[in-house]
């Protein structure tokens, strides 16, 4: 086996920039290694880009907004609202006489709208049978990779005020 595809006494550059088409199409080990190294550089740049985005990302600001009145919905009842923007649909459930929880209504799998199943006492996504705990929004079953973002609620007099969104990673 020869190391050179075209042994000659010509300078190296003539071997690498041949006038023959067949030689031009030939990929040497050195060229292939260069290509792999460039791909490796691409992966590194990708990782750097993610790190940079993470570093420069601004913390989102959540305005306080009134979302319901105390006693407005019955126990095990549901109210839909939008928070923090009109495009962010949320679902609030009164789980007990004195207990309210609210989550983003977007399933973390493919963004279908989740609904509250009073029978099973959990949030369910009808698209791919993803189930979430009503207590903390964690995934009980199905393909969703992350818990539902939780809307933080505070009481002010007779009103329920949304004050923020708690996004949790899995685990």
């Amino acid at each position: 086996m020869s190391l050179l595809r075209n042994p000659s006494k010509d300078p190296l550059w003539k071997d690498e920039f041949s006038v023959f088409t067949s030689d031009e199409r030939y990929v040497t080990r050195r060229q292939f290694t260069k290509f792999l190294t460039l791909a490796s550089l691409g992966m590194f740049v990708g990782n750097l880009w993610i790190a940079l985005r993470s570093y420069l990302a601004k913390k989102p600001e959540y305005p306080a907004a009134e979302v319901a009145s105390i006693g407005e919905i019955p126990v095990r009842g549901v109210k839909l609202f939008s928070y923090p923007t009109p495009l962010d649909n949320c679902i609030m459930v009164r789980t007990d006489e004195d207990e309210y929880v609210a989550y983003s209504q977007k399933c973390t799998h493919l963004s279908c709208a989740v609904y509250y199943s009073a029978k099973n006492d959990r949030l369910e996504c009808p698209c791919h049978q993803g189930f979430f705990s009503i207590k903390d929004g964690s995934v009980l079953q199905g393909p969703p990779p992350r818990p539902l973002p939780q809307i933080l609620l505070e009481r002010e007099g007779g009103k329920l005020i949304a004050t923020g969104v708690k996004v949790r990673a899995n685990g």
Partner: protein
């Protein structure tokens, strides 16, 4: 001057070994990038900087191996 067969063969084995190593490092880097992206989108921002550093080290290893291949290839051709 034509290079001797044993020298060529040794060079070829070294180059093949280095290439195989680069491929392995690249596969690890691809996995690292996808895992970092997944973690970043899931809100795990703590993992992105160590991942970038590790990816940089892997790239440095690949670049070193590339230099090694380059050198061995030139030496094999010229000897």
């Amino acid at each position: 001057m034509a290079s001797s067969e044993p020298t060529k063969r040794r060079g070829l084995v070294a180059i093949d070994g280095a290439m195989a190593l680069i491929v392995i490092l690249l596969v690890v880097q691809i996995w690292l990038l996808s895992a970092t992206l997944e973690a970043y989108l899931a809100g795990h921002h703590g993992a992105v900087v160590p991942a970038a550093v590790f990816s940089g080290l892997l790239f440095a290893a690949c670049a070193s191996l590339n230099t090694f291949v380059d050198r061995v290839d030139r030496d094999s051709r010229r000897n």
